[in-house]
């Protein structure tokens, strides 16, 4: 148990991948009427909702949305941030200035305001949520990559590669980018948790995943009407989110410890100023 974050996130990934086998049947189909709002028990370990649907089954299926949104939006953000950071760090000075001002503008908005504004502009959907989270999450990555690229461009092997007449794209992708990968990976893993949290809030507001797609945030919203008579409906989806986000935050720390030789100097820093 030296890497609890790695183990936890792997388990969650397995649950999401095997959801149709772990919880067979359509999780959105209405259950028997006499099974509605059953408290946790032998037949339904985590109880049922007002339509007689098993909470555990729905949680298992809901994990797919959280992980999908978390991974895809972070991948988008990291690719975008890495590209912009590389261009800013290695490209001409004026481009660097433009990109850094753009980063400042995006960072000036508390993320949730920007996300809500963008999501409200068209019909809510999961795809939109992923796109918006990707579009609003690249800035810290871009800054990080730019800083690393700026220091790498002074290093002998990059200077040599340039001296040999290699084109800027080749230098960026073949010589600088591979050396950035540890930084990028750590930044990515630390951002997944935040993306999952934001997605759950959007789905809670009804601006994310729409029925019949199951998401943990929407499950909490449905349970909100039953805070007193069915506590399990709000409690368990929330716990699922907490466990998932804890897993990814720990994974980020573990990756950093392995990949980033200066992690002790930077310990704790990535947590502040990263997410909304």
């Amino acid at each position: 148990m030296k890497r609890p974050g790695f183990i936890l996130t792997t388990l969650l990934l397995l649950v999401a991948l095997t959801a149709p086998w772990l919880a067979p049947g359509d999780p959105a189909a209405l259950g028997p009427v006499d099974q509605s709002l059953q408290p946790p028990g032998w037949q339904h370990p985590l109880g049922t909702d007002m339509h007689g649907r098993d909470t555990l089954d729905r949680l298992i299926h809901g994990s797919r949305v959280s992980l999908l949104v978390g991974w895809i939006s972070v991948t988008m953000a990291v690719v975008l941030g890495t590209l912009l950071g590389l261009v800013a760090g290695l490209g001409p000075r004026w481009l660097d200035l433009v990109i850094m001002r753009l980063t400042d503008v995006f960072l000036a908005f508390p993320r949730i305001f920007l996300v809500l504004l963008l999501v409200s502009l068209t019909e809510p959907s999961l795809l939109l949520v992923m796109g918006v989270l990707g579009m609003t999450g690249w800035m810290p990555v871009a800054r990080l990559v730019r800083a690393e690229a700026l220091s790498l461009r002074q290093r002998d092997f990059v200077v040599a590669a340039r001296g040999l007449g290699l084109g800027p794209v080749r230098v960026a992708l073949r010589h600088v980018l591979p050396n950035l990968m540890p930084t990028v990976l750590v930044a990515a893993s630390l951002r997944v948790g935040g993306a999952i949290l934001t997605e759950s809030f959007l789905s809670f507001l009804g601006l994310g995943a729409q029925e019949p797609v199951i998401s943990w945030g929407a499950m909490i919203q449905q349970g909100r009407a039953h805070l007193l008579d069915a506590w399990w409906l709000t409690t368990f989806p929330g716990l699922a989110i907490v466990i998932t986000v804890v897993g990814y935050n720990m994974l980020g720390d573990e990756l950093r410890r392995r990949l980033d030789p200066r992690w002790q100097e930077a310990a704790g820093r990535a947590w502040t100023g990263g997410e909304e």
């Binding site: 503008v105 000036a108 908005f109 305001f113 504004l117 506590w231 709000t234 002790q264 947590w271 502040t272």
Partner: protein, 338 residues
Amino acid sequence: MIRFPSPLSAWVLRRLLTSVLLVFLVVSAVFFVVRLAPGDPMDAVIGSADRDLTPQEIRDIQVRYGLHEPLVKQYGRWLSGLLRLDLGISLGQQRPVRDILAGSVPATLLLTVTAYALHLVLALLAGVTMARQRGRWIDHGIQTVGLAFYSVPGFWLGLMAIMLLCRQLGWFPAAGMHAPDAQFMTSGQRFMDLLHHLVLPAATLALGSFMGTARYLRASLDEVLAQDYILAARSRGVPENRIFYHHALRNALLPMITLLGLHLPFLLGGAVVTEFIFGWPGMGRVTVDAIFARDYPVIMATTLTAALSVVLGSLLADILYRVADPRLAPEEEGGPRS
């Protein structure tokens, strides 16, 4: 860049200029994002009418909100309106957006300032305890509990608090800022009533965020405690408590000033979530309501307010830090490359 005789004032001046540019860019971004997005802000008004509007009526509405003019002209009016603090008229509530903001910003300020005070106290306690008890069970305990709180969705934490502390135990009111009969209270009672309503939203906001600061403080303390002057103090026989609080903590707290600027977006973002759950009549609540009503003038105004306070906050924190720590070279991150 021009060189000024005093590096600090030159730096402050440059920082001010970039902030003004940033404000302009932010203001423009808010305008163009809304106007150029698919879907017309008018759809909300037209959609909310109880019958089909005639083309003439639609035209009238467009004229009323200035949407019939070319984009550049609208942009110009948006800018000049902002200079006069005129934010337009709410589509949903038919009253000036400025009045809506003026009515909600104080509530958000009260909530975020209280929450931040609580956040700092918790972070200081947790950070200092972790650094002093380094590697012992209490260090690991705080890390684990803190990580859990850090990973909790704010809206769920709020719901859990409402479920347990308000509905089950009845210790706190579940929603709003004042009791329904607040107008009949004496001012002392009103104040206590306000505090009573404030406890849970502020605690929710603080609990979800303090661990980031606590970890930062701990890392900062670790760094300082490894410095030579700490070793020198130890070798002189300075008591351990004095070394920790007098020599180490004061230096470790210095970089925390910059966090002030970094935390503003977190606090304002967290306020959106918390205010929504607890029915706190602040800017976050107004924003979410406006999102549902597609009330773009209001959304634009609250988003702008949030962004501008972030720009201002980080500017102040940066300047404060430079003034507080003269060791810093005037050019560092964000400055021109060497």
